[in-house]
């Protein structure tokens, strides 16, 4: 027992501090991806409702492709693909040397485009749930289109979209474990390395599982609070008051 505790301790002998650093990488790549993916997803959702045929087709193709291709494959295509393209561009500009894409950036882009595809569906459902009258009333009050979106549509949008976006976040959190295969030193990567060094796979993958579980439980709690807050102006059916 003491042996296992030593392995998980902080300091040069144990892997505790490395695992903690990995957990920080996991949560930072998830948090860095979130705003980018959600914003892109909202843009795709707006494009799906657009009057222009080409924008609509593009948005539909985008969501079909990135929801249908395994995340691992998307990650490889972006990591290797962008590297190859950038290398060609690099040489074409007459620059010598190698162009290296950081695994963090590749992971963020890959997870972000996938998150955008899934969250676009959530945004779309929420956009459809807001009645046309809301926009018309905003226009009647003299608000510009952007003001109407920011002040009238968006606050209502968040309330409807929040449960779906919460699911998107949970999926994203778990998908970050894939970036370990492109050598980003997240929780999963550290656990794999600790296993190679100590031959204690059950201990370290178990510890990694508990780290992810911790983040999931915290997120569930956090989203419940956010939903309560977003719904504070709405009476809930059957709620006692």
């Amino acid at each position: 027992m003491q042996y296992y505790l030593d392995l998980l301790s902080f300091g040069p002998e144990g892997w505790g501090d490395e695992l903690l650093a990995g957990a920080l990488v996991t949560i930072s790549i998830a948090l860095a991806t979130l705003p980018f993916g959600l914003a892109l997803g909202l843009a795709i959702a707006v494009a799906k409702r657009s009057r222009s045929w080409s924008l609509r087709t593009f948005a539909t193709l985008y969501t079909t492709i990135f929801r249908g291709v395994p995340e691992l494959l998307t990650l490889y295509i972006i990591y290797f693909g962008v590297q190859v393209l950038a290398q060609r561009l690099w040489s074409a500009m007459g620059l010598s040397g190698n162009f290296d894409m950081s695994p963090f950036l590749a992971g963020m882009v890959a997870l972000g485009v996938v998150l955008a595809a899934f969250s676009a569906e959530v945004w779309l459902g929420a956009l459809n749930a807001i009645q046309k009258g809301q926009r018309e009333a905003a226009a009647a009050l003299g608000l510009t289109k952007w003001q109407a979106f920011r002040l009238v549509v968006f606050p209502q949008l968040m309330r409807v979209a929040l449960p779906g976006l919460g699911n998107n976040w949970m999926v994203l959190l778990k998908e970050t474990s894939l970036v370990s295969v492109i050598t980003l030193q997240d929780t999963m990567f550290i656990a794999t390395r600790a296993n190679v060094a100590t031959k204690e796979p059950f201990l370290f993958f178990g510890a990694a599982a508990l780290i992810y579980l911790f983040f999931s439980i915290i997120s569930t709690w956090g989203f419940d609070r956010l939903e309560d807050r977003a719904n504070r102006g709405h009476a809930r059916a059957g709620a006692s008051r």
């Binding site: 249908g68 291709v69 295509i77 204690e200 059950f202 992810y212």
Partner: protein, 238 residues
């Protein structure tokens, strides 16, 4: 030229022609992995959902823990925990005569995928069973039906309509997640593609694999639309 080399030759892609046969057998493995784990997942998930709703309290609590764990951690972690983690207790497995199971990455993969999808499916079935109005079961009881008959003839047909769409989504998730099998040395579609890329450094093979996965997902989507039309034919929704 064998049949599996034709698509590559027709597309004019040398890598795809050279590795077409490996990718075809990889696709076979992918389909096998998904079909077996999803099929077992339905049976286990449905049982767990019923136990989660109507079992004794300790069982309900254990199942709640099981579902929280498997839905709250990445499938990759679960796969490594089973393949490397459980696989490291070799003397124990040899003693109980199960070493042949935990030695084989294919069985470990099937186990990981099955218990993972069973947890998600249990949640889908639970939601579907809970969405039924209580009066349905009550009316059936008033007619003198036995509990099992009520479940089979009254509750299940209605619950399946609610569960169908999320089940289709779960199947699509499983197809995509099966790509993880390539990380424990299996040559599924993703594994064969990685091998082809590692030997040829031709990125187009990844795009071909993406197209194959897309085609699979599109087929499932259409089959599911058909199933839904059939299951709801008495409702006259459209």
């Amino acid at each position: 030229m064998t049949w599996c080399e034709y698509p590559g030759a027709w597309m004019g892609l040398e890598v795809f022609q050279n590795y077409g046969c490996r990718m075809a057998s990889g696709l076979g493995l992918t389909l096998q992995l998904v079909a077996i784990s999803f099929g077992l997942g339905i049976a286990i998930g449905l049982t767990l959902a019923v136990l989660r709703l109507r079992g004794p309290k300790p069982v309900r609590m254990i199942l709640h823990g099981y579902m929280t764990f498997f839905r709250g951690t990445p499938l990759l972690v679960q796969l490594f925990l089973i393949y490397y983690g459980l696989g490291s207790f070799r003397p124990f497995w040899q003693e109980v005569g199960l070493w042949w199971f935990f030695r084989d990455p294919l069985y470990c993969c099937l186990l990981a995928f099955t218990i993972n999808t069973a947890a998600y499916q249990a949640e889908i079935f639970r939601g579907a069973l809970q969405s039924l109005p209580y009066g349905q079961a009550e009316a059936a009881r008033a007619l003198g039906m036995r509990p099992f008959a009520i479940f089979l003839k009254v509750e299940m047909p209605q619950a399946m309509i609610v569960a169908l769409r999320p089940l289709g989504n779960e199947l699509i998730v499983m197809i995509k997640a099966s790509a993880l099998a390539s990380l424990v040395t299996l040559f599924d579609l993703m594994g064969a593609t990685r091998l082809a890329f590692a030997r040829s450094f031709d990125l187009s093979i990844y795009l071909v694999a993406a197209l194959i996965y897309l085609a699979l997902v599109e087929i499932i989507r259409r089959v599911w639309d058909g199933l839904e039309t059939r299951l709801t034919r008495h409702l006259a929704l459209r």
